[in-house]
């Protein structure tokens, strides 16, 4: 018998029923919800007179709309200045109260970005199926779980039935061997992967990230990589369980304890692809050659090493791609063949479900220490991913280091990653951002996003333009 991949094992363990027409019912262990993609799902439940199948599988928190300034946060939901945002956050509170769902409300110390609080509370565990109405749910795949984003109709479906109607995806292995150079981070690895396979390269696949680079990576780093699987088109990204995973999970609030812990660990150790497992596609990348990355365009695949120059559409023969480069250059206000290090930075955003965990804050603080944000930079902000990350960073004095360098230290939330709250770019402004999407208008109307690692973002803040953090 041929071996199984990690994805095959997770799929098989959750298969409730395989139907004749090729679809399957997959059981969902954990459902994380937030304010933006759930109001219509709750409304659907009410209209049909249905109730959640298992309220104890659901964990809620508001994150997309919440303000991040200390002042606006001080009086909780009532203090949200944008009336439309306030209604959305209140609606989540009301729905959770009505159905008896655990919610970390706006000023609860455990509140944070959905994909940060899942792993850090132990609500998300290895071997689970995890869904959330947000495409970056694959973040949880770092635990050795099958995690992916779903739409609002599916949110309602999972609440009502504890299952998802799915079709098995294909298996892809992205293998990055070797050792990363100094100053090269998990963010650079995932951006380099997207540059290699393209923004649709993983469409239809569940991707496992394997190889020495991921074995050596921290859990936070693995989460950064899995988080951006969707930017390569893959709904789900995952990393096999090893001792790093088990050490991370142990002792967290909702992690199993006592005898359950021992049984759980024994079962989690099998969450690796078998030696003879067959993948439909394998991509191999030499980790030692990956450089710090900066995106220049309006798709995450439009990314280059910091030492490169902006592409020239004249060198592209495919007409659709050529038009794409021309449009991206125009939107981004860049010239063909311009050096990436000559792009000025107006704002800096360190945060988002991609890079707002403790090691990201530490990396930014390390660069910021003893330096100052350049005068030409209008704003540089650091937004921790959760109340827990914030408390941990403050205990280490990282907030003081960042503030001394001229960074703003904010309250947790999605913030300027998608600019649903007040944190946004002005028209035409360039931003060094640790988030995940550089789409047109993503961080504000007319805003220009450049995706980078936390260290590269902090370095750009200090210099006022992009710079190779290794040369700082």
């Amino acid at each position: 018998m041929v071996g199984k991949t990690l994805y095959d094992k997770l799929w098989d363990a959750h298969l409730v029923k395989q139907r004749d027409d090729g679809s399957a019912l997959i059981y969902i262990d954990r459902h994380i919800i937030h304010e933006v993609t759930t109001p219509q799902a709750f409304e659907g439940l009410r209209m049909a007179g249905r109730k959640p199948w298992r309220v104890d599988s659901i964990l809620a928190t508001p994150d997309h709309n919440v303000p991040t300034t200390v002042k606006e946060r001080a009086s909780g939901v009532e203090g949200i200045e944008d009336p439309v945002s306030k209604i959305q956050v209140k609606t989540l509170d009301d729905n959770c109260d009505e159905f008896g769902i655990l919610e970390f409300k706006i000023n609860d110390k455990r509140q944070g970005i959905v994909h940060v609080i899942g792993p850090e509370t132990g609500a998300c565990l290895p071997g689970m199926t995890i869904v959330c109405g947000d495409s970056h749910t694959a973040t949880n795949g770092a635990l050795g779980a099958l995690a992916h984003g779903i739409g609002t109709s599916e949110v309602e479906h999972v609440m009502a039935t504890q299952c998802l109607v799915a079709k098995k995806m294909k298996n892809m292995l992205i293998k990055v061997e070797g050792q990363l150079g100094a100053g090269v981070t998990s963010k650079d690895v995932v951006l380099a992967i997207i540059a290699e396979i393209g923004t649709a390269g993983g469409t239809g696949y569940a991707v496992e990230f394997g190889g020495q680079v991921f074995r050596d990576m921290s859990m936070e780093g693995r989460m950064t990589v899995c988080n951006m699987a969707i930017e390569a088109g893959a709904r789900a990204g995952m990393v096999a369980v090893d001792q790093t995973t088990i050490d991370y999970v142990q002792g967290r609030t909702y992690a199993p304890k006592g005898e359950d812990w021992d049984r759980a660990v024994a079962s989690w150790k099998a969450l690796v692809s078998d030696e003879d497992a067959v993948f439909d596609k394998v991509v191999e990348i030499d980790g030692s050659r990956i450089q710090p990355q900066v995106s220049w365009g309006t798709s995450p695949e439009m990314v280059l090493p910091v030492g490169a120059t902006v592409p020239n559409p004249a060198n592209e023969s495919d007409p659709v791609k050529k038009a794409g480069i021309e449009r991206a250059l125009e939107y981004m206000g860049l010239k063909a063949d311009q050096k990436i290090t000559d792009i000025p930075v107006d704002r800096v955003f360190i945060g988002s479900c991609t890079n707002s965990r403790i090691e990201d804050i530490r990396a930014a603080a390390e660069v910021a220490k003893g330096r100052k944000v350049a005068d030409s930079v209008i704003q540089a902000m650091v937004v921790p991913g959760s109340g827990q990350v914030k408390a941990e960073a403050e205990a280490e004095g990282l907030d003081k280091i960042l503030e001394a360098a001229g960074f703003e230290w904010r309250e947790p939330g999605c913030s300027m990653c998608l600019a649903m709250n007040a944190d946004k770019l002005g028209n035409g402004e360039h931003c060094a951002s640790t988030s995940n999407r550089n789409f047109e208008g993503r961080q504000g109307y007319g805003g220009r996003t450049h995706l980078v690692s936390p260290a590269m973002a902090a370095a750009a803040a200090v210099k006022g333009h992009f710079v190779d953090v290794r040369e700082l």
Binding site: V36, V55, I101, L418
Partner: protein
């Protein structure tokens, strides 16, 4: 769910690869707690010349006259012609809601992002996949012919051009069945409630830590 059987309607272009969900419906409009009313903000940032505000009356806003959906010839379009990887990015179902609310009932493209593809079916919006060459041909014919209409037959899985040329498309059996009959998938799944409960009982023995941990204090 809304059913889909046959459709004949004007085709309109979205002639770019990798059209993302932020472009289809920008985030400022996701604050609504309703499923309807997103059509006026479909492609907001490229359709209008100013910045949109939720709930505003869009009838007086300056239109981008270079954006095809603003051309008189594409008014009332029901079929959107698009390029590779349409709907990439976020999981927001507001994207198909906006396309549907605007009046589109079908999209034709060489490929889609997975989540968008899935979300479309839940809303009676049919995302059809045809080869890049065929899509290119349809774009060219549409540009050359004002009032270019495509006929779509889901049962037969065909797209037919005004000249009578017909193209076959593939679709999952399950999705086709649900869409043709406008079936509610929650009701369908709940027919399997016994199988779900049996699975849960078995899992509670195998992995008890997966149950009961997360509840309000």
């Amino acid at each position: 769910m809304k059913s889909f059987t046959q459709l004949k309607g004007i085709a309109a272009p979205m002639d770019r690869a990798n059209v993302d969900t932020d472009m289809i419906i920008p985030k400022n409009f996701l604050k609504s707690i309703k499923r309807t009313g997103f059509g006026k903000n479909l492609f907001d940032e490229i359709r209008y010349l100013d910045e949109g505000i939720p709930d505003q009356d869009c009838s007086g806003r300056p239109l981008n006259q270079e954006f095809p959906l603003n051309f008189p010839r594409y008014q009332g379009a029901k079929v959107l012609l698009a390029r590779e990887n349409f709907g990439c990015g976020s999981s927001r179902e507001h994207a198909p809601w906006a396309l549907d609310d605007y009046g589109f009932r079908a999209i034709i493209a060489p490929s889609y992002a997975d989540i968008f593809y899935n979300n479309s079916f839940k809303n009676g919006l049919l995302p059809i996949i045809l080869s890049a060459e065929t899509v290119d041909q349809l774009f060219n014919e549409m540009y050359a012919t004002e009032g270019y209409e495509l006929a779509i037959d889901l049962e037969a899985q065909t797209v037919t051009t005004p000249s009578g040329e017909s193209f076959q498309f593939d679709i999952d059996e399950f999705r086709k069945h649900c869409l043709l009959n406008g079936l509610d998938d929650i009701a369908l799944t709940l027919r399997e409630a016994d199988a779900i409960r049996a699975y849960e009982e078995r899992r509670k023995q195998e992995a008890p830590w997966l149950f009961g941990a997360v509840v309000p204090e």
